[in-house]
Every structure is written in C-alpha cells, then in structure tokens.
C-alpha cells in the first residue's frame, strides 16, 4: 500500500465571534486507501497526542447521504471530483507532496461555529417555510391511490435527491441558495400531492431564502457543478417560472 506526505492549509477558528486564520499542518504517511475524512482523523490523532486542539469538522454517515461533511477543498466544496461528498473522496486522488487547502463552506448565512463546522440551520428554516405538504398522518395511503405520470415522478425524484449539504451555496460567488431551494420546491411541485400548496410554497420559501441573507443567482451554474447529487440548474429555471406565476396569481387573486 502506498503512502502520501501532504501539506494541509486549514482554516482554524476558535468560535463564532473570533477571527479565523489559516494554519499549516504536515499530514504524514497517509494511506492512499484512506478517505479524506480519515486523513483528517489521522492528523487529528497526532494533534491530540501532541496536546494540540484537533481540527473540528462535521460528519455523520460517511457514505454520502447525510450531507454533513461540509468542507471546501482547494476552493471547491466537496473537492473538484464530480458528484461526491467530501466523505466519498479518496486520498488516491491526490499526489505525494500536494498542498491541500481546507476551508469551511463560506456564506454569511452559514456562520462558522468552529474551524470547519458551519451552522446551516438557515436551510431548516427555508424547509419550515414551505418544504412540506399538508396531509393527514396515520395509515399510509395505497401507493397507487394518486396516479403520477412517470416523467413527473422522475423529475420529482431527481430533485428529491438533494441532501441539503449546502455545497451549492458554498460554491456560488454570491452565496445564493437557489439550487437547494429550487430542488426542494421542484420535488414537491412536480407531484399532485404538492400541487395544492404550490404557489404559497414557492412564495414562502423564496421569501425565507431572501430573509436569511443568501445572495442572488447570476446563472453561473457553479452550484450544479459541485452538487454531490448532480441536481440540475434547470430546477432553478422552474423556480423562477413558478415564482413569477405565483406572484402574478397572488397579485390578482390573493
């Protein structure tokens, strides 16, 4: 098994209010079979042994489904590899002697909590504003009770793959949350169950998005390039269209 010796440039920040800084660490004897998070684990073990504060980072599932492992690697959220989260990135993608810059997801709407850990509860508040359908809970309805055309089901499913990781915001030069919001809105708006509250959903989610201080989309599509679930920016076009229609209907028939 081959090993790598790397230099890490890591953003360290003691708490939400303190100034952060880039610190340099040597990552020695890293097996190429390690994942990126395991590489940081190895560095942290050494830091702890040396009595230093380990690098704090978010993680949970380590298999690309929870969306916790927010990290910007060499300027690109989840690294330059397409369609993966940081936890799915392997060290064999790096070369011996590489310098790797590791920074938190940057957006004022995602304040840094500590080191690489950011607070993404702005996303939760956007979901609470409209990312749901109002149905009676209880026994599950029959799967074929409401027929859904295949193309709509596919489109909704593509959007539903969003894991809320926030990479789209972190990659955007404007820290816009349009890809996330459009995926969540599109997921429900494509389905008959979501159709009922569509206008209110779109208006409320977009208003919450604006209130959280995310920037405005300038159609550069950096979001779709870094999205681990490869959500397409065509959902943003749909959100724009739905928002225009919902605003018009609200104006004439509130």
């Amino acid at each position: 098994m081959s090993h790598l010796n790397l230099t890490l440039k890591v953003w360290r920040q003691d708490n939400a209010t303190s100034e952060g800084r880039i610190e340099t660490y040597e990552a020695k004897e890293i097996p190429t079979s390690a994942s990126f998070l395991e590489m940081i684990d190895i560095v942290n073990e050494r830091l702890i042994r040396d009595g230093e504060e380990p690098i704090h980072f978010d993680h949970d599932c380590r298999e690309g489904i929870c969306g916790m492992c927010s990290m910007t690697i060499n300027g690109i959220p989840h690294s330059k590899e397409r369609g993966i989260t940081t936890c799915q990135l392997h060290m064999r993608k790096f070369k011996d002697g590489d310098t790797i810059w590791i920074e938190p997801f940057r957006a004022n709407a995602f304040p840094v909590v500590k080191d690489l850990v950011v607070d993404r509860s702005a996303f939760d508040r956007i979901i609470a504003a409209g990312g749901y359908i109002s149905v009676r809970t209880g026994s599950a309805p029959d799967a074929h009770a409401i027929p859904v055309p295949k193309s709509d089901a596919d489109a909704a499913f593509d959007a539903a793959a969003c894991i809320g990781c926030g990479a789209c915001v972190a990659a955007c030069k404007n820290a816009s949350a349009m890809l996330f919001v459009s995926a969540k809105a599109s997921h429900l708006n494509h389905l008959p169950q979501g159709e009922v509250e569509k206008d209110q959903r779109v208006l409320n989610m977009v208003r919450q998005m604006d209130a959280e201080g995310f920037g405005n989309c300038t159609n550069q599509f950096e979001c779709e390039a870094v999205c681990p679930k490869e959500i397409s920016a065509q959902h943003i076009a749909k959100l724009n269209r739905d928002y225009l229609a919902a605003s018009a209907r609200e104006a004439v028939a509130p």
């Binding site: 330059k80 810059w101 940057r106 957006a107 920037g215 405005n216 300038t218 550069q220 950096e222 509130p254």
Partner: protein, 229 residues
C-alpha cells in the same frame, strides 16, 4: 388594490423579482441593439440612404416617435442599471471569499458582468454626447447637414474608434453571458435547450460585435474618406 401593490412591492424586493426585472430590461436592450445595428449598417448603403434613414427616425410620428423610443430606452437602461448594481452589492455582501479561490465552470464573461456593464454605461454617455447631443460644435454643424458625414469624420479620429472597439468588446462579453441568462431567469431553459441557448447567445454576441466594429474599422481603413475631403 392594496393586494396588488403589496405583491408588486414584495416582487420588487425579492431576489427573483429583481432578477426578472434585470432580464426583461436586458431583453429590451438586446432587441434595441439588433435594431440599432441594422440601421447603422445602412452606412454602407451610402450617404443618401443613411441620411434618409436618420431623417426618417427624427420625423417619425411628427418627431414624437424618437422621443417615445428614447424614453422607453431610458427607463429600461435606468432600471437595468439600478437593479444590477443593487444585486451586485448584495451579492458581494453575502459572503467572504476563500483563501484559495477556484471556479469550476462559470464563464469569464459571467464573472465580469458589472465591469462590462459599467464600461457600456461610460460608453453610452460618451456616445450620446458625441453623436446625439453633439457637444463638438464643428461636428454638430456637419451632423445637421449629413449624419453620414458626421459618422465618417467622427470615426476618423483613432482614439474615438479605439474606445468604441474596446466598449464593443466588453458589450460582446456582456451579451455572451447576458443573452443566455435571459432564458434561465425567465424560466425558459432546460437541460434539453441549454446547449442551443448557449450557442444562440454566443452567435448573437458575435453578430453584434462584428457588425458594430466593422464601421469604425472600415472608416479607419478609408471608407468614405473621399466624400468628406
């Protein structure tokens, strides 16, 4: 009524609402450019045809036509300017930069929209003073007699032509991203149409670019010089 004004108010305050205003005013300016270029290319049809066209513009609807167009353009240009500056400032404020910056697929033109836009603004002010208000008394006298001659003499100044060509280069960049953006902002782009839209925007920008710069270039290379001696 209050429901209408309320929703209009929140539309104008929302990120998507503002972007839609930018896209619609941008579209109006894009359509204007196509018309403006078509008219300008009449310069090659000779002095008589071009002067007649200029005369037509100024006498259309007993002279009100040109003012209606100017007013419409001013409103579009003003709104475009106001909202793009507002959006750009909000965007700059929305996040701190990375120590290690990188871009995956955003085209260069999309990253300099505010700078290409402000260059267009500077150019438009100069252009209006030069050929519409005609602050140069001598050029104004020639212009009153023949707009065709005014254009030829105007562009025989290499500095004027150089500034014109630089401004058109940035306009071309603005359009390469801007025209494609209109479709996305208005919700008319999908994965299937993304490719054709990108090609259309680049082609449109190229036609506008080469169409406009051909005029100062032709004049610098001697077009019309025998007629204005």
């Amino acid at each position: 009524m209050s429901a209408l004004t309320n929703s209009l108010g929140s539309f104008i305050k929302s990120s998507i609402g503002r972007k839609i205003i930018v896209a619609v005013t941008g579209l109006a300016l894009v359509l204007f450019l196509a018309g403006h270029l078509t008219g300008n290319l009449l310069i090659y049809a000779g002095q008589e045809a071009f002067d007649e066209y200029a005369h037509f513009l100024h006498t259309f609807l007993h002279g009100t036509g040109v003012w209606i167009a100017r007013l419409g353009l001013l409103v579009c240009f003003g709104a475009h300017l106001w909202f793009t500056i507002l959006l750009t400032r909000e965007n700059k404020a929305a996040r701190k930069g990375y120590a290690h910056q990188a871009t995956v697929q955003a085209p260069k033109s999309s990253l300099i929209m505010i700078w290409s836009g402000l260059t267009i603004l500077a150019f438009v002010i100069f252009h209006l003073l030069h050929f519409t208000v005609r602050t140069d008394a001598e050029l104004a006298k020639i212009g009153a007699e023949s707009p065709w001659k005014m254009v030829i003499i105007g562009f025989q100044n290499p500095l004027v032509s150089l500034f014109y060509i630089i401004a058109m280069t940035l306009l071309c960049s603005h359009l390469a991203h801007g025209v494609a953006s209109i479709f996305q902002t208005l919700g008319l782009r999908s994965n299937r149409t993304a490719g054709p839209i990108r090609i259309f925007a680049k082609a449109y920008a190229a036609v506008i670019y080469f169409g406009f710069i051909s005029i100062p270039l032709a004049i610098l290379f001697g077009y019309g010089s025998d007629a204005v001696k």
